[in-house]
């Protein structure tokens, strides 16, 4: 029998196709691989979001939950990062608490990557880098994924034309994949609503006295460099805002609108006894005016177009040649968190929450952020 050689052109086509499939395929797999978190000495226990809603077990939405438990009993604070994983300071700030913080009294519960589905893909059409890296004190590189504002369509699809959330708020269809529009969530709802429900369950079952949601927003947005507080927590937030202002950290205070449903600062307060806060830091990486969108922009926060906008007085936050680096944005969040605890402890001595070993604002802002990671 005569052997036939495959057509070289066809063979070339097969190889090229294999390469073209393999490159995005590997990128896809890499984006789903969770980054290493190195818990510090303060972490006493590690669990999962699925502990609060077993339906999430084995899904891409399941995510680690860290517990820092003090020897002395006190109150409980919940820190939620990564509700929008395209907002890096939103998950790095709670990660620093996990890797550095020690609870002396009371408990800190941390969910650094609240939306495990949204971290598994980048924002479509934004030219966003898939990751950024920081060097720790030992010179080792820590790589962090950059995710999307919305859950991965591979986990939740299709979007409806309009999304009517649990509270009847009507939103555009894609917002159905936005965790911070899905509260209080549904145990048998979409994967995003299930995540929201599980977070509500942490607040309720663990009796979180305080719950903080960490975010970032574009410098031209109206609610930025801000604390948004439910009416229950507004006076504590007012005091925190004054302490931040005293430290020359620009801050505004906003009250959570009662008619803006689905957001953490509204529903956490309405559906539990917790005192909710949402922190918002300004990040040019998030904005419409930005130029080159890369890892450097995430870390250094310097952008010539934002500088021009600032000079034209078109921004809602101070912005100059120093930019708004990740270290500054994270330092703001950590400092605001510390002031929330200080203020809370003044009024609720019997349920005080004391956390030590967190870096001070001056130590961290405009410095190498990796120095504060393990």
């Amino acid at each position: 029998m005569k052997k036939t050689c495959p057509n070289p052109a066809f063979l070339g086509f097969l190889i090229a196709t294999a390469i073209l499939v393999a490159i995005p395929g590997l990128s896809y797999v890499k984006q789903r691989a969770p980054e290493t978190i190195i818990p510090g000495p303060g972490v006493t226990r590690r669990g999962s979001l699925s502990d609060y809603l077993p339906a999430l077990k084995g899904t891409s939405a399941d995510t680690p939950v860290f517990y820092l438990e003090g020897k002395e009993p006190g109150g409980t604070v919940l820190l939620v990062g990564g509700a929008h994983p395209n907002e890096p300071a939103g998950f790095i700030a709670p990660l620093i608490v996990v890797e550095r913080g020690v609870a002396q009294k009371g408990r800190v519960i941390v969910v650094p990557y609240a939306n495990g589905s949204a971290i598994s893909h980048t924002e479509p059409l934004e030219g966003s880098p898939a990751s950024f890296s920081l060097k720790n004190k030992a010179g080792e590189t820590r790589v962090f994924r950059v995710g999307s504002r919305l859950s991965n369509p591979l986990d939740q699809w299709p979007d409806p034309a309009l999304y009517v959330n649990e509270k009847g708020q009507v939103l555009s269809g894609s917002e159905m994949r936005n965790l911070n529009r899905a509260f209080p969530g549904k145990a048998d709802g979409s994967i995003t609503e299930q995540i929201a429900y599980a977070i509500m369950e942490i607040i309720r079952r663990e009796k979180a006295d305080i719950s903080i949601d960490f975010h970032e927003a574009s410098p031209e947005y109206t609610t930025v460099n801000a604390i948004v507080a439910h009416e229950k927590s507004l006076e504590l937030a007012a005091e925190v805002a004054m302490y931040l202002e005293f430290d020359d950290i620009p801050i505004t205070l906003e009250q959570s609108p009662k008619n803006l449903n689905g957001l953490s600062h509204r529903e956490w307060g309405d559906y539990s006894d917790t005192l909710p806060f949402l922190f918002e830091a300004a990040n040019p990486f998030m904005g419409r005016l930005r130029g080159k969108t890369d890892e450097t922009l995430i870390i250094e926060g310097k952008d010539p177009y934002y500088l021009a906008a600032a000079k034209a007085k078109r921004l809602n936050v101070p912005y100059d040649e120093k930019g708004l680096p990740l270290s500054y944005r994270v330092a703001r969040h950590i400092t605001a968190f510390r002031y929330v605890l200080d203020t809370y402890n003044t009024y609720y001595e019997e349920k005080a929450i004391i956390v030590t070993d967190l870096p001070e604002y001056e130590e961290m802002a405009y410095r190498n952020l990796g120095d504060f990671l393990n």
Binding site: A238, E245, L253, N259
Partner: protein, 184 residues
């Protein structure tokens, strides 16, 4: 604790160093009604500042109306427009300006002193907020602001033009000391 002692010391120092421009600041009396013009959270900050002052007879009502201020001696209006706040309060900008205008007119009619405050700094400046300041500063007896809110001289000029005493503090936390100084 150290921080609080430091803050107290800082506040006392600035109570002495604070700059008071133009006409004399009037003496104020309790009870005090605190409200907002524009529904920003600055009014909540003012409530905290009153709590930390020596003034004990005060009430905070963010939607107080002209017929609810009988018996009060001083009306404190913390001005600053917030779309979130207006939404939360269920009132629009025009409704808010009408409410506060009527409130000040009623306060004046019954001999109350009116204070306008801006304690949220530059972040609470802008077209809508400036519209509120332009409306209500000329109707007031005393204006107290943080320096950051006056980087363009807006308040200095407005108060000079209308002969209103203006007190400028560096940080909002110093307002408590100013209140202690002006309340009899």
């Amino acid at each position: 604790m150290k921080k609080r002692v430091f803050l107290l010391a800082f506040t006392l120092v600035f109570a002495i160093l604070v700059i008071a421009n133009g006409p004399a600041v009037p003496k104020l009396a309790e009870p005090v009604m605190i409200t907002t013009a524009g529904q920003s959270a600055g009014a909540a900050m003012m409530k905290v500042l009153f709590t930390k002052s020596n003034i004990k007879d005060f009430v905070f009502e963010k939607l107080v109306t002209a017929d609810e201020i009988e018996g009060y001696e001083t009306l404190v209006i913390v001005a600053g427009a917030s779309s979130k706040g207006l939404g939360a309060a269920g009132i629009d900008f025009d409704g808010e300006t009408q409410r506060v205008t009527a409130l000040i007119e009623a306060a004046k009619k019954q001999g109350m002193k009116v204070v306008v405050a801006q304690i949220e700094g530059a972040a609470r400046r802008g077209t809508s907020s400036d519209q509120l300041f332009s409306l209500f500063v000329p109707m007031s007896d005393w204006v107290i602001i943080v320096r950051d809110a006056d980087s363009d001289g807006f308040f200095t000029n407005l108060c000079e033009e209308h002969g209103i005493p203006l007190t400028i503090v560096e940080k909002s936390i110093e307002v408590s000391a100013q209140l202690n100084a002006v309340f009899e």
